[in-house]
């Protein structure tokens, strides 16, 4: 049975697209046929993070409007056999997303894919609403920072009351992904601890992704960071994918290695 998972947050810039790219690549690596959809109409970014920006022909909106077939708009990843990207439109705005259209496309994807990952735009309006409405599960992305946690709480409220599953009395499964976690600053008491965030949001923890320079490197070259197996962030995402699939791996706070030290030195001199 296909599963639709939305990656959402409320607040902007917390790491939704980075996470959607990494998780979908991770699911494909584990052998599941996976499609990742960009819901951020007008601010297309997923194609860049996935490294397929030069191959976009048709997009999500073309498919919704009937200008292209779904299979024409899906871009097959060049590295992973099981991975497909559905880019969004760069020129239209979010009003181009219709509820019927989104439902039809997701319905069609469900027939062919094991996992459908929806990369939500920031905010709680139309784009973010439609990204989460048809989902079976939600991954709420937050940073250990006050406004991000507050917005995550707001989003959890919406998921709990306004998703289709909620309307049908069948709750949407929710998980928290804490990203850009900086152990040093947490230990210095400058940033919220994972326990604090978890206490406040009371949603099961899928993983902790450290603040990691490899994320920028990966976006420079258009490779989901999970494919950088040596990086701390890549490893943390791989574990999160495992948990999503039911692996019994306890969540640990990712700590820097020697490489981390070099990265830190670099950051200081940069």
């Amino acid at each position: 049975m296909a599963k639709v998972i939305v990656v959402t947050s409320g607040k902007g810039g917390v790491g939704k697209t980075t996470s959607a790219a990494a998780l979908s690549a991770g699911l494909a690596l584990r052998g599941f046929k996976t499609a990742v959809i960009d819901f951020d109409v007008g601010l297309r970014n997923l194609d860049l993070i996935m490294g397929c920006e030069r191959r976009v022909v048709y997009d999500f909106i073309n498919v919704i409007n009937g200008d292209a077939k779904l299979h024409q708009a899906l871009i097959k990843d060049k590295r992973l056999e099981n991975l497909f990207v559905l880019p969004t439109s760069q020129t239209r705005d979010k009003d181009a997303l219709t509820q019927d259209g989104v439902e039809r496309v997701i319905g069609e994807l469900r027939e062919e894919f094991d996992y459908i990952i929806c990369d939500s735009p920031a905010g709680i309006e139309r784009g973010a609403f439609l990204a989460m409405y048809f989902a079976d599960e939600a991954i709420v992305v937050s940073n250990p920072e006050v406004s991000s946690v507050r917005d995550a709480d707001r989003m959890i409220g919406l998921l709990t009351s306004k998703s289709r599953r909620a309307e049908q009395g069948e709750p949407i499964i929710q998980n928290l992904l804490l990203t850009r976690y900086d152990v040093e600053r947490v230990e210095k008491g400058e940033m919220l601890k994972v326990e604090d965030v978890q206490d406040i949001l009371a949603v099961p923890l899928l993983g902790i992704i450290p603040e990691c320079p490899s994320v920028l490197q990966a976006s420079n070259v258009g490779t989901p960071v999970i494919l950088d197996e040596k990086s701390l962030a890549g490893r943390a995402y791989a574990e999160a994918v495992g948990r999503l699939l039911g692996d019994d791996v306890p969540v640990t706070v990712p700590r820097g290695s020697k490489r981390g030290l070099i990265d830190r030195l670099l950051r200081r001199t940069a």
Binding site: E53, R55, N62, K69, Q90, L216, N220, L266, T269
Partner: protein, 88 residues
């Protein structure tokens, strides 16, 4: 530029890749050649022309695009019916 120079080489390389990718992408986007706008129309008209001669199934049309710095390749793949299908 001491020991750190060695390590900073890696970041520089990926930044270079980022610059090139953005140059190609933005050149196309600024020129309004993002594709999504005229490609559906182009595809429809192409199919109309071909339909004058043979029947085509719209599900058997694949359009691929590869943008490069100095040229882009648009590949339209239209599968024609086999003789047996044509007899039906």
């Amino acid at each position: 530029m001491s020991v750190l120079g060695i390590f900073s080489r890696r970041p520089k390389k990926t930044a270079e890749a980022a610059r090139e990718r953005l140059q190609i992408l933005l050149a196309h986007e600024r020129a309004g050649l993002s594709g999504a706008d005229f490609l559906p129309q182009l595809q429809r008209e192409l199919i109309e022309v071909i339909r004058k001669y043979v029947s085509v199934d719209e599900d058997r049309v694949q359009v691929k695009l590869e943008r490069e710095q100095h040229l882009s390749v648009l590949e339209v793949n239209i599968e024609l019916p086999t003789p047996s299908e044509r007899n039906n």
